[in-house]
């Protein structure tokens, strides 16, 4: 998933919880998804993406 998409989806989830639209069962799943999205974004920010590195270096 791309960073922008992840942030957008994260915003959706947080808004849903804030507006009380989710019942208790679905909150568990949404929380899990949100955590995964946050990790994805943090990795893109702070971890080196070997894929990107490879693509840029390979092209000479």
């Amino acid at each position: 998933m791309k960073y922008e998409e992840a942030i957008k989806r994260l915003e959706e989830i947080v808004t849903e919880i804030e507006e009380g639209k989710l019942d208790m069962d679905r909150i568990g799943d949404s929380l899990k998804e949100a955590r995964e999205l946050i990790k994805l974004c943090k990795d893109k920010l702070y971890e080196t993406d070997e894929e990107i590195k490879k693509i840029l270096e390979a092209d000479e």
């Binding site: 994260l10 919880i17 009380g20 893109k44 080196t48 840029l56």
Partner: protein, 409 residues
């Protein structure tokens, strides 16, 4: 015939000129040649062209002697940020001279850089007007920089200190953000700038999915020579470029045409790195905030649920108590009714017994006899009807206080 030598003739021309035009003149001209000498002088060739730019209207050599040149060159460069070069329009203060051998030439005393800058600005404006007319001038600025701009294509010369600074700043940023930088080499000074930068842009465009941004940078260094970035073709390319272009070609002066059409202009390669790091920082902040909102909202939701459960739980004992009381009442009612019922039954039964007793008592023959009735028996059987009797029957009549024998006659 009054012949004179050539030297004399030229000498007379020289004197006449000296006498008639001793003053210095400010003259507008275009530089068509510029030759510094090893001795420190500078030999210029000046022209004036007509409006089509094809025909020469005037020409002259101009000498800038060493002393003058040593002052004039840095002065001009400091003021304009440009070096004197062919094609430039200049305003020079000159003396006219004629030399018997070398002929007519100008001796340059001074230069007015404002005139040149004015001319450069005029040319820039012309190009910008044309770009505006072509409808491209704002295109690159309309592009959105992605939320996470971490893949960067750099156009610079590898030797430029600027590129090294830029790379290092990104690699060593205080927040730990990761960046991916690739260099596309081009000349940042001289005559090849336009061609090589456009070629680099083309190379990047062919790989646009690999990058988020383009940065054109060159080091601060000595003289800026930015006029190469006033090219129409280069600007047209930048304006139409599919990725946002940041120019950090370094200057505090008026923007070059390239600066105007680029998405963002920054002053130095360092500023370019800062710009990018700040964008990523803002994005990281957004993420932090979302994380916080998530935590807060879930905690609140949990709390609300907990309260709800507690409220229900609190109600339960009283509900239960109510139920208990009701239940007890119900039981009591049932008990009371049962007891009453039983009593009633017993009472009615007793009553009946009494009635039965009375009836039985009332049915006692002794009572009947006492009332005056008699009981007649014939041979031990009770006589109920007179027709059962015939004369000669011996009857026993029972009375209340005894019995009597009789015979029917």
């Amino acid at each position: 015939m009054n012949a004179i030598t050539l030297q004399e003739l030229n000498g007379r021309v020289k004197s006449t000129l000296q006498f008639e035009m001793p003053d210095a003149y400010w003259v507008q001209a275009e530089i068509s040649g510029i030759n510094p000498s090893s001795q420190g002088h500078c030999y210029l060739e000046l022209v004036q062209k007509d409006t089509t730019g094809k025909t020469f209207l005037a020409k002259a050599k101009a000498n800038v002697w060493r002393n003058t040149w040593l002052k004039m060159k840095p002065y001009f460069e400091a003021e304009t940020g440009e070096t004197l070069k062919v094609g430039m329009k200049v305003l020079l203060q000159v003396n006219v001279t004629f030399h018997e051998v070398y002929g007519y030439s100008l001796v340059v005393q001074d230069i007015d850089p404002t005139y040149t800058m004015g001319d450069m600005a005029r040319r820039r404006k012309e190009i910008l007007d044309q770009l505006a007319k072509d409808g491209v001038i704002g295109l690159n600025r309309e592009l959105e920089i992605p939320l996470l701009p971490h893949r960067i294509a750099v156009i610079s010369s590898a030797t430029a200190a600027g590129y090294g600074d830029f790379r290092n700043q990104l690699a060593g940023n205080a927040y730990g953000f990761r960046f991916y930088v690739k260099l596309f080499q081009a000349a940042m000074q001289g005559d090849d700038v336009e061609r090589s930068v456009i070629a680099a842009l083309d190379a990047i465009a062919a790989r646009r999915d690999m990058f988020d941004l383009v940065v054109i940078i060159r080091g601060g260094g000595a003289v800026s020579e930015l006029s190469c970035f006033d090219s129409y073709d280069l600007a047209y390319n930048i304006a139409n470029f599919p990725l946002p272009v940041i120019t950090g070609i370094g200057h505090e002066r008026d923007d070059t045409v390239a600066d105007v059409v680029a998405h963002t202009k920054v002053k130095t390669p360092t500023a370019a790195a800062e710009f990018i790091i700040n964008r990523v920082f803002d994005t990281a902040q957004v993420l932090e905030t979302l994380g916080r909102r998530l935590g807060d909202s879930v905690a609140e939701r949990m709390n609300a649920e907990k309260l709800r459960l507690e409220r229900i739980a609190q109600k339960l004992p009283s509900l239960f108590a109510i139920l208990k009381v009701r239940h007890e009442q119900m039981l009591e009612n049932v008990w009371n009714r049962s007891v009453t019922g039983v009593r009633n039954i017993l009472t009615s039964r007793t009553h009946r017994l009494e009635i039965l007793e009375k009836s039985v008592a009332a049915a006692d023959p002794a009572l009947i006899l006492k009332r005056g009735f008699t009981l007649t028996r014939l041979n031990g059987h009770v006589v109920r009807s007179a027709s059962d009797l015939k004369p000669g029957d011996r009857l026993t009549t029972v009375l209340a206080d005894g019995s009597v024998e009789s015979e029917i006659i």
